[in-house]
Amino acid sequence: MKFITETSGIFTRYDINVEVGRKEPRKISEDELLQKVADCLISGDEEEMETTIRQALRDREPMEVINKGLLRGMREVSRLWDEGVYFLPQVILSSDAMIAGIALCEKKMGKTMEKKGRVITHTAEGDIHDIGQVIVNALLSAAGFEVINLGADVPVDVLVEACKVHKPLMVTGTALMTTTMTAFPKIAMRLKRLGLEIPFVCGGGAVNEEYVTSFDLGIWGKEASQAVGMAEDALNGLGWMEMRAKWNG
């Protein structure tokens, strides 16, 4: 078979045209060990993170390690992702390292760190495709939210009951199939009837803005990466209508 040498009239490699150059992470601390904590986090090195945290905790308060090492490191990871330098796996590995680091600090404190707020996540009944939810869970946990993960194939009743018990500041729903996303308006209606006006972020596969904004409480989540920003909004007191106006236009 003959193979072409000139492809310019056939396709354009826009990824190469707009390639983001390598950017080094910024320095975040003058303290050598806290910088090392941040470096471990930025490189997603969970194993090295544990060793480094143990060293840092010898002569530092756990909250100092969290605030000046881990959280600042995670902010740097977010910046690198926002600027197109980092890809998703790098962020997830950093999240894993963050969670491991916080666990060690909490152990030293003898109590769990106060979480920013509670979010319930689930994948719709009849749907077992939950990778989007897995990503949301990791990102929210790393950002300091308490995640109540109900898993996949979650019946409407279970989700509603969990909302009654835990009173989350936000709920997320994932569905790959259009035939399973039909659970979302049922959930929204039940929550409203109970007076639980919780922002309900729905996304995944075939879920679209038109559908999600057709029922009260619904906010369409286009990408899993939006979950943290949305949870921050809910934490700051934005209601579902304001969030919908902001994120869905």
Binding site: M1, K2, F3, I4, T5, T7, I10, F11, R13, Y14, D15, I16, V18, E19, R22, W81, G84, Y86, F87, L88, P89, Q90, I92, L93, D96, G126, D127, I128, H129, D130, I131, V134, I135, A138, G151, A152, D153, M177, T178, T179, T180, M181, T182, A206, Y211
Partner: protein, 455 residues
């Protein structure tokens, strides 16, 4: 199960659309891979139609009926109608069965009235979720097998998109962990398929139905979907290409258990499967844009026997319903391929399809017939285990990508591929050693049950 040790095709040059070394004939008399390409239409019901069996039957009656009608209106000589089960159709086996029976009647009416050659593929939903149940011993497992039994009575072909290894795959794909992907797809997925397909093949033999084949959709297509287009920042395209190469080891298991094709359309690994087994395959490309973006729009037609779409939801368009419109599009694509065959221009036509996408992306490059064939060859030459052949396929795939100067990489992609290759080279040779390593490494992954895979 004996692992394949030879190639059905001596070279990629031999491979062409419309002809397979081992053509099949369905119970309704449709020949596949016997010299012509046929369209395969997949329609999907609208949300809420799944509420009752009555509403779902009506939805499929219209969707499948529209496809058959459009064939007659525009003169398409033959079609395969496929329905991929929504959850309810497998969960309640009689639902899937009634829809299969109804579609069978529709097909027979069109054959009787107009002479339209048509057959029905029923793709059972794998409703077993690995992290939530024992894959071999759960209510859902029974439901899947019951559904096969019920649908095989009326369908010409049955298939499944099996889920084995998905729990480890999802964990590893978002962590850039190529060793874990090998474990998930080849070791776990392959073992699950061997268990499942032995049973599926037995069921089809009782019902005179063709055991079509499986697909690595739940894993390799997840990677492809996440890799996305040129601006996506989820996972590297090189990793998605390696996942595809690995998937050949896994999807091949169905045929080693007795499946005869046509392979399932969303198995983008099918060109390699055809090269190894000689079975007819279904593929999808640009016609899948209704369901997901893709970078392999034309090349996927190069060696197909059925040319298909990804499931298109039933809606009305200016030109009729989506099922009618996509049937028309698929049928004309196929008519062009069959015209090329009739004129003796098939290799030239194939060359255009291949060259359109060959250097577009890593994923399209590795699915060109010559590259897919070479990956297949690596599989059969390293058939000591499901793992060894998958690892060899990945290494061959990486070498071929790295060795092609016309395939361009961003620096991120180049570095990523280099790292994956380094990791692949460092892995144990022996499957037992690799399994031991992985069982330890992934023991804490939520819901991972080695016993589900006989480990």
């Amino acid at each position: 199960m004996k692992l394949t040790n030879s190639m059905a095709y001596e070279s990629a040059e031999e491979m062409i659309f419309g002809t397979a070394k081992k053509p099949v004939r369905t119970k309704r008399g449709v020949e596949i891979g016997a010299g012509l390409v046929l369209p395969e239409i997949i329609t999907h019901p609208r949300p809420d139609s799944e509420r009752t069996i009555k509403s779902l039957l009506r939805e499929f009656e219209r969707a499948n009926g529209d496809a058959l009608e459009r064939c007659v209106l525009v003169g398409h000589p033959a079609i395969i109608v496929e329905n991929e089960h929504v959850f309810q159709m497998t969960h309640n086996s009689e639902w899937g069965m009634e829809i299969a029976a109804q579609t069978g009647r529709q097909i027979e009416e069109y054959h009787e009235k107009y002479g339209l050659e048509a057959a029905y593929r029923s793709t059972v939903a794998d409703i077993r979720k690995p992290d939530m149940m024992d894959m071999r011993n759960s209510d859902r497992t029974l439901e899947v097998l019951e559904s096969f039994d019920a649908c095989a009575k009326f369908a010409d072909i049955v298939s499944i998109e099996s889920m084995g290894g998905k729990e480890i795959f999802d964990y590893c794909i978002i962590r850039n962990d190529i060793s874990g992907l090998l474990f998930a797809q080849a070791v776990l997925g392959g073992r699950d398929m061997e268990w499942l397909w032995t049973r599926i093949v037995d069921i089809t033999h009782k019902n005179g139905c063709l055991p079509g084949g499986d697909t690595d959709c739940a894993r390799a297509n997840t990677a492809m979907f996440m890799a996305g287009g040129f601006l996506s920042k989820n996972i590297s395209h090189s990793l998605a290409a390696l996942c595809r190469a690995i998937s050949v080891s896994r999807t091949l298991v169905a045929f080693e258990c007795g499946a005869v094709g046509p392979g399932k359309n969303c198995a983008y690994e099918n060109p390699a499967i055809k090269a190894i087994t000689g079975v007819p395959i279904s593929t999808e490309g640009k016609t899948s844009a209704c369901a997901h973006m893709g970078l392999c729009g034309n090349v996927m037609a190069a060696v197909c026997d059925l040319w298909s779409n990804e499931a298109v939801e039933y809606h009305n368009m200016f030109g009729g319903s989506t099922s009618a419109v996509f049937t028309e599009i698929l049928g004309y694509d196929v008519a062009a391929m069959n015209t090329a065959i009739a004129l003796g221009y098939e290799k030239e036509f194939q060359s255009c399809l291949v060259n359109s996408d060959r250097y577009r992306d890593q994923q399209s490059f590795i699915l060109c017939p010559d590259i897919a064939w070479a990956i297949g060859k690596a599989v059969v030459e390293n058939n000591q285990s499901l793992y060894s052949r998958a690892r060899a396929a990945a290494i061959k795939c990486g070498e071929l990508m790295m060795g092609e100067p016309r395939l361009r990489f961003t620096s991120f992609e180049k570095e990523s591929l280099f790292d994956y290759m380094k990791e692949l080279a460092s892995l144990p040779e022996d499957e037992g050693d690799f399994i031991d390593m992985c069982l330890k490494k992934y023991e804490k992954v939520k819901g991972f049950r080695p016993a589900s895979y006989g480990l």
